[in-house]
Amino acid sequence: MLKNYFKIAIAVLKRRKFFTFISLFGISFTLTILIVLTAFVDNVTSANYPETNRDRSLYITSLQQKNVKQFSQRTGPASFYYLNHYVSTLKTPDKVAIASFFMPTNTYVNNKKLVINLKYTNDAFWDVMEYDFIEGKPYSLQQINNSEKVAVITENTKSDYFGDVPNVVGKYIEADNVQYRVCGVVKSVPVIMPISYADLYVPYTVSKTDYKHHDLMGNYTAVILAKSKSDLPKIKAEYASVASKIKPDAGFDKLTTTAAPYLASFLSSTPLGDPETGKVGKLVFIVSIFVLLFMLLPTLNLININISRIMERSSEIGVRKAFGASGITLVGQFIVENIILTFLGAVIGIVLSLIILQVINNSNLIANMHLSINLTVLFFSLIACLVFGLLSGVYPAWRMSKLQVVTALKAQ
């Protein structure tokens, strides 16, 4: 029976080529936009290089201190002291990476200015993040303790600073008016990953600002790596109990902080998130509303076209009804036909989005970002496609099934 539906659907599509074109254009274009958007969101939120351990990591990207009486509050990253003193000492985690947010500074080579983003890290940073080392290796705990001026640079920094040379380990790079000895070169990271992005990674002990001060606020973030995924709730609870005992800075009386998964940790300090629990329900809700609204117009368009096409087939419907087909059978047939049409559109849409993603990747809109269609993206776009097909098929099919046999047959 499905095979028959399929044959009919193809025959109908061939009959009015202009309508087929309009339908396919609408479907494929809508899906293309959704796929490109999902690919982008997926790229930002999922565990890509070098943060491949995100599924068993918790992030602490900001603290919030409040003064309840004066309604004043301060939100921002934590100090090195705070993270080293309270987070590194947690018992459940496997490792705790501590790194500063990247800080732009300049260097000048051959009368050309380079902007170099510096990141100060501890040694566990290299274990928690899985950087691809093209040459050399990361600096060791020993080198950090000795405050050695060593640096790990990215591939892009290497080519910008040294030019086209095969080997740079052991050479010196000047940045922020300091000579660092290069000990390793890693594959570059896109800027949309603020925890792992930088051009030059150096030990926190060579930081020019005082990393030993005891204020809670500073410029550092922590990534807590659990031994296994099942440890995450335990770590959250342990951190919450430690944090509840910490005395806020002078002038504040309440400290709020959570160890949360990647996305939630960034949203927790915005109105979209919840600093107490670290849930992201609000964001998901807003995004779904937006997607629904975006799909509304193409869906209406498709409904309009479908109604016109269906009325054209009134004689066919009349004959089938006269021979005893029930309304539900006819509705089912039409919805299946419509879903076949949407899937045809989906195939075109996927091809189009492959082209567009390729263009975006090549245009270097965001350096080192590589968008691709993976299984998750494909899965979500197929779901979107199915919803689209159902939404635009149900109303016209219902209208059709209500058609009286007599009027349907008389029309011709």
Partner: protein
């Protein structure tokens, strides 16, 4: 004529209601996109109000060893002296971190008297700030060293803030204040020394906002990690590298030098990229709708061949027929637009998003024109086709 067209549409209200909904949503989409474009364009037309060419921003973390006001001023005077010893540097001022075109903002409410209270950008700036930025005074003067001893902190406000707080009154010499959270009432803390021309410092497509320039006191200077400097035109990277070394040695912490003109480019990009994406998406949606509308109208006309043939037979010209079909489409569009207008008008009435009402009204006007043109274009070809129907052929089919 209109009554007749309306009756024709009413007879097929089920079929037409979906078309109306589609046009209505298209109108809302166009209204949203056009509001954004009109708003940005109006902002783009505003003068910048200052000169950002050859202005560099030096940012550094303030050195920690400075413990009291005297060591701060010793350090800063020495730094300035070193900078002024370089002939390429024309003017220097410490400032807050919210320099033009940066991502930082710093704002608070400012009060005048008992009734006026407005949101305002706060800029920490020294007396040399207008020289660096080449800002023009409208009335009064910029604050200077002599104002330090005064009871109230000297401030300069921009023209927009002056108009909102004082209207046509003279602003110079007036006292204004900030809300005091602990006592829950306004407190006069600032004395207006002058009014300066508006500076559009958030980007080319951003609106001019209220601004107040506050003279930096010793506490503000202690935590100042941003300087703006004006250099001679044509100063190159080799000088910048020298300057970088000098500043780096003087402050001992991490330093970054940026150029305001480059900051403007990247700030504009942050705003333009989402706007272009939104416009492209809306463009495709509209093409989609146009094709759909065209298809449905075309199909409907094919179905009404008999009726059209009859009209031609009793003497209607081709133009009459085509005018009737375009007219029907326009009546449909008008119904959709009336519903759409009802929603769109709420935006200026309820002052949503705080945009000026005339921006909304311009956008509404443009969106209405746009939808009408779209509908006419989509109806013209089917209408013309209908005009070409021969009564004999059409009636023969029945």
């Amino acid at each position: 004529m209109f009554v007749h067209l309306f009756k024709l549409i009413w007879n097929k209200k089920k079929q037409n209601s979906l078309l109306i909904v589609e046009m209505f949503i298209s109108f809302l989409v166009m209204f949203a996109v056009l509001t954004m474009l009109v708003y940005s364009y109006k902002n783009f037309r505003q003068p910048v109000g200052f000169d950002y060419n050859d202005v560099w921003v030096i940012s550094f973390s303030p050195p920690e060893k400075l413990n009291d006001a005297i060591s701060v001023s010793l350090f800063q005077d020495a730094l300035k002296k070193t900078l002024f010893s370089m002939p390429q540097i024309k003017a220097v001022s410490f400032s807050g971190s919210n320099v033009p075109f940066s991502m930082n903002t710093s704002n608070s409410r400012i009060n005048y008297g008992k009734t006026k209270s407005v949101m305002t950008n706060f800029y920490d700036a020294e007396e040399s700030f207008p020289a660096v930025m080449n800002m023009q005074m409208v009335e009064g003067r910029w604050y200077n060293k002599a104002d330090d001893a005064a009871k109230y902190r000297p401030v300069v406000i921009n023209r927009k803030l002056k108009e909102e707080l004082f209207g046509n009154e003279n602003a110079v010499g007036k006292l204004i204040g900030e809300e005091n959270y602990e006592q829950g009432k306004a407190e006069n803390r600032f004395k207006v020394m002058g009014v300066v021309e508006n500076a559009k410092d958030k980007g080319s497509y951003q609106a001019i906002e209220n601004g107040i320039y506050v003279k930096m006191d010793s506490n503000a200077l202690r935590w100042a990690g941003t300087m703006v400097i004006k250099v001679k035109p044509g100063t190159d990277a080799s000088f910048e590298s020298k300057l970088f070394k000098t500043v780096s040695n003087a402050v001992g912490t991490s330093v970054e030098i940026e150029h305001l003109d480059k900051k403007l480019v990247s700030k504009n990009k942050v705003l333009l990229v989402p706007m272009i994406i939104a416009a492209v998406v809306a463009g495709f949606l509209i093409i989609n709708v146009a094709l759909g509308l065209f298809g449905v109208l075309w199909y409907n006309i094919n179905k009404r061949k008999g009726e059209i043939g009859l009209r031609r037979a009793v003497g209607a010209t081709g133009n009459n027929v085509s005018a009737q079909l375009v007219g029907e489409a326009l009546v449909l569009a008008t119904i959709a637009l009336i519903i759409g207008l009802f929603f769109a008008v709420q935006f200026p009435l309820m002052n949503v998003f705080d945009l000026p009402a005339n921006t909304y009204l311009t956008a509404i006007g443009l969106a209405v024109i746009f939808i009408y043109i779209l509908v006419i274009i989509c109806a013209l070809y089917p209408g013309k086709q209908a005009a070409g129907i021969y009564p004999a052929v059409a009636l023969h089919e029945e």
